[in-house]
């Protein structure tokens, strides 16, 4: 297993490098640059080409793309992600300032997804073909196939405006102390909206997995030995049924992070999603690169984690 992990880590390096190259050159292909974004369209005529060129030079944008990429790689190797063109502050600091908000949101969504997804999956499996199962199946398809922003706007309309249970947006109320309770109050709506897709996905996987396990011989044996149905379900069936879910949950993390871009934007949540969107619009290249690098890293690590946990959980899997 150790060899396998080391090999996977070694393979991850060129993949990561490849991703940075692709990201960098796709970013380069976007029309306009940071200086273009800095000038209002109607004001740009007031600047002479020399002035614009001088501004580009100040930001180092006058160098050829491959040179800038190599400089970026060199600095990244030293642990330096560069400075944001929009703020002049180190990208690392900018990201660290926003990362907790995004982690808060994604972790809560994941937790919500696991608890409700697995819970509803069990109910669905135990009550197979009942009206509850049919209803949850329908609900699951609805949750999976509806875009997050629809739930976001609908959720704000219903739970914030009509029922007045949650604030419309933001992470805290200004003028109030950012207590844990206030933060959780602000977080519930975006976290639930972000996690709905996960709930549906986990629910369906938990259902089918549990149904598979329930039909196994050792469950029949347990029943034959006279064990209570609840003990069979919780003690024998569920533990084994959850094994494939560990992989599914690991693979869901990148999707949750991707989902934050839209959800954070709608809920004015000051995290990485909002920041990456602003950086793309502003052509803040060092930030775009750093955020993409981190997301790529998370995706690769999530995949690796999924493989490893699967091997641990299921002894039939052997990595050579």
């Amino acid at each position: 297993m150790r060899t396998y992990i080391l090999r996977r880590l070694a393979v991850s390096v060129p993949i990561l490098l490849g991703l940075t190259v692709v990201t960098f050159f796709f970013t380069e292909l976007m029309p306009g640059d940071f200086v273009d974004g800095l000038m209002p369209t109607t004001a740009i005529a007031n600047f002479s080409p020399e002035q614009l060129e001088s501004m580009r030079e100040n930001y180092g944008l006058n160098r050829p793309p491959h040179v800038r990429y190599l400089i970026w790689m060199r600095e990244l190797a030293k642990g330096n992600m560069g400075r944001s063109l929009a703020s002049g502050a180190p990208v690392r600091d900018e990201i660290l300032a926003r990362l907790p908000a995004t982690l808060q949101l994604t972790a809560s969504s994941l937790l919500f997804g696991i608890i409700f997804g697995v819970g509803l999956g069990i109910v669905s499996a135990v009550k197979q073909y009942s009206w509850i199962d049919q209803f949850l199946t329908l609900l699951g398809f609805f949750w999976i196939s509806t875009p997050g922003f629809v739930f976001a706007i609908g959720g704000i309309f219903l739970f914030s405006l009509k029922l007045d249970l949650f604030p419309t947006s933001g992470i805290i109320n200004y003028g109030e102390e950012a207590t844990l309770l206030i933060r959780i109050h602000h977080m519930i709506l975006p976290a639930v909206v972000l996690g709905l897709g996960s709930v549906a996905s986990f629910m369906r996987y938990a259902r089918s997995s549990l149904l598979d396990v329930i039909r196994q011989d050792y469950i029949t044996v347990a029943r034959a030995k006279g064990l209570a149905e609840k003990a069979i379900l919780m003690g024998h069936a569920l533990r084994n049924a959850l094994i494939p879910l560990i992989t599914i949950i690991s693979l869901d993390i990148p999707f949750l992070i991707g989902g934050t871009v839209i959800i954070e934007h709608i809920f004015a949540w000051p995290g990485m999603g909002t920041y990456s969107l602003a950086s793309i619009f502003a052509r803040d290249y060092p930030v775009i690169m750093a955020v993409n690098f981190m997301v790529a890293l998370v995706v690769l690590m999530s995949n690796l984690l999924a493989d490893i946990t699967y091997a641990f959980a299921d002894p039939r899997i052997r990595y050579e």
């Binding site: 976007m30 029309p31 306009g32 640059d33 940071f34 273009d36 974004g37 800095l38 000038m39 209002p40 369209t41 109607t42 004001a43 740009i44 005529a45 007031n46 080409p49 001088s54 100040n58 944001s84 063109l85 929009a86 703020s87 002049g88 502050a89 300032a97 907790p100 982690l103 808060q104 994604t106 972790a107 809560s108 937790l111 696991i114 704000i156 405006l161 419309t168 947006s169 933001g170 992470i171 805290i172 200004y174 003028g175 950012a178 933060r183 533990r239 959850l242 560990i246 934007h265 709608i266 809920f267 004015a268 000051p270 909002t274 920041y275 969107l277 619009f281 502003a282 946990t309 641990f312």
Partner: protein, 572 residues
């Protein structure tokens, strides 16, 4: 048994991971400390503001919305920003020499009076003597001088062309050739003189509208490289944001909010409002819901929300006549549009009345001049009323002369990302197809549009124009070599240069009429629509009058000068 233990361990690992993430989440985000109250200073109100009612009551908290996310422009950076609305909070914390009302008439602010020499080269401002910075220091002419020098320092990357090219010695100072700036003189503590290299009528109106006066004693200790960027962390600190306006900066969290509190020592009288919040409410949909819920007090209504906002009980919807137009820049240098008959055909072919009525909810009207300021609009301009037959006649004539190829396909660009503009572009495409002109619609988001314009990668480009003064249009004539908007008609350019040296208003106006007539016929760009802007104001808000509303759509005319009069009640 071993297998079960492994599973249990795995569950433990997951539990630890999730609990750790939640613990991390529970740690509150860093919040900038609230500054200590500035030392109070006596500030007797001057005549101009003596009638402002002073109130001791809590005038409430007014909440504005900022866009999301905070992109290239910081909503709080008090230096020169080309009149962009992102500067609005700074208009409340910082003062200017004078303020313009919605008719572009200047009213005293820090300058009580000013004088323009007969040849329009010397502008003298007399400052009030009772103005104080938020930290209690007096505002003097030396602050004005330091502000001008600061924004003209190349290292700040502000590059204000109107100052660099106009002031005596401006270019040398900007280039670093000289440390002296003879174009700014301070004969005494409360007089500042701007000396221009050549006559520029109305220069003070255009050059100083965005000039928030900065405190020299604060900025003398600031290195430009620390604040050169719009979102530099220093801009979000109360130490740097010392102004002399009616409200004081308290704190700002990027992407979240800006908090201002009233300045009890304001020279115009203490404001009624206790606090002003500029809050990020997310997307327009979220802002709309926040408005309904009463979390948001003043909202600049996007056109596609106008009909829905009219149905709300808790707000009044005001319509603001905007000195703002949309135009189509036409690439008159390309083979496709080099003949003016083709350009005129495009103007006749588009049914602008129907677009306004059907798509813009009647919030616009066809417009036919680059001059969006109504008092300066030339009479008797060709209105280019919808006439597809005439358009086809013009095209046929151009085709007969070899100036138009029916196989041409015009590239039409726009940069407004809403669904409404997709519909408008589709309508335009249909109108043009009806006269046999094929188009390729290309949406460009904000940043890429400058590049497309600079490289001339368009045939028709839809964009907004909102200048404050007739002479602001000069940029349209400045450089005919660049394939952007400038128009290379030497006669029109000469006329424009003549306006800059014509002091008499009527004479200057008649020259502008002449230029408008030339452009109306030649159509190097096609004026398109002029707008009325809807503004939703909560019924709890009072004193937010027409001038203040105007500011929401035309920020470089500072209606916020009357902020001291606003208040918000608990109930509607």
């Amino acid at each position: 048994m071993k297998r079960l233990t492994t599973h249990r361990n795995l569950l433990h690992v997951w539990t630890i991971l999730i609990v750790s993430a939640l613990l991390l989440a529970a740690c509150p985000a860093p919040v900038a400390p609230t500054p200590e109250e500035a030392a109070p200073a006596a500030a007797p109100a001057e005549e101009e503001t003596a009638d402002m009612e002073e109130m001791d009551d809590d005038g409430g908290t007014l909440t504005f919305a900022t866009g999301s996310p905070w992109g290239t422009y910081s909503p709080f950076r008090p230096t020169y920003q080309y009149g962009y609305s992102s500067n609005t909070p700074a208009m409340l914390t910082h003062s200017r020499l004078f303020n313009l009302d919605r008719n572009n008439v200047p009213h005293p602010d820090l300058a009580l009076e000013w004088e323009v020499s007969d040849d329009a080269t010397t502008y003298t401002f007399k400052l009030r003597q009772d103005a104080k910075w938020h930290d209690g220091e007096p505002v003097t002419a030396h602050d004005v001088e330091a502000t001008v020098k600061f924004i003209m320092t190349q290292a700040t990357n502000i590059n204000p062309q109107r100052w660099i090219s106009s002031l005596v010695g401006g270019q040398d100072f900007y280039d670093g050739v000289s440390d002296e700036l003879p174009g700014v003189q301070v004969p005494d503590d409360f007089t500042v003189i701007f000396q221009l290299a050549e006559s520029k009528v109305g220069w003070h109106l255009s050059a100083t509208t965005d000039l928030q006066i900065l405190p020299a004693h604060i900025f003398a200790n600031v290195a430009p490289e620390d604040i050169v960027e719009h979102h530099a962390p220093a801009w979000y600190t109360p130490e740097l944001n010392i102004g002399s306006g009616p409200f004081k900066f308290v704190r700002a969290e990027r992407d979240q909010f800006i908090e201002l509190e009233r300045n009890d020592d304001y020279y115009g009288g203490a404001p009624n409002l206790e606090r002003i919040i500029f809050k990020n409410f997310g997307t327009a949909d979220t802002q709309f819901i926040a408005l309904q819920k009463g979390e948001l007090d003043v909202w600049k209504v996007p056109q596609d929300f106008y009909e829905q906002v009219l149905g709300l009980d808790n707000v009044d919807v005001h319509l603001v006549n905007r000195n703002y137009i949309r135009v189509f820049l036409l690439n008159y240098e390309s083979d496709k549009l080099s003949d003016k008959r083709v350009r005129q055909a495009l103007a006749y072919a588009i049914d602008r009345e129907s677009i306004c009525e059907g798509l813009y909810s009647g919030l616009c009207q066809p417009y036919n001049s680059y001059m969006e300021m109504r008092p300066w609009l030339a009479p008797d301009l060709n209105q280019y009323e919808y006439n597809p037959e005439k358009a086809m006649e013009l095209l046929a004539a151009a085709e007969a002369d070899g100036a138009w190829d029916p196989n041409n396909e015009l590239i039409v660009n726009w940069y407004y990302g809403d669904a409404l503009h997709q519909d408008i572009m589709a309508a335009i495409q249909q109108n043009l197809a009806a006269i046999g002109v094929q188009t390729q619609l290309q949406f460009l988001e904000g940043t890429s549009v400058s590049k497309a314009a600079a490289n001339c990668e368009y045939d028709m480009m839809y964009q907004g124009w909102g200048f404050a003064f007739p002479e602001d249009y000069n940029s349209f004539f400045t450089d005919a070599d660049r394939c952007t908007s400038p128009w290379g008609d030497p006669e029109a350019r000469a006329l424009f240069n003549k306006t800059a040296a014509t002091v008499d208003d009527d004479e200057r106006r008649s020259i502008h009429y002449e230029i408008q007539a030339r452009l109306n016929d030649e159509l190097p760009m096609m004026p398109f629509l002029q707008f009325t802007g809807p503004l939703a104001v909560s019924k709890r808000v009072s004193g937010f009058d027409d001038d203040a509303q105007w500011n929401q759509y035309y920020p470089w005319n500072n209606g916020f000068a009357n902020a001291a009069n606003w208040s918000v009640s608990e109930s509607e």
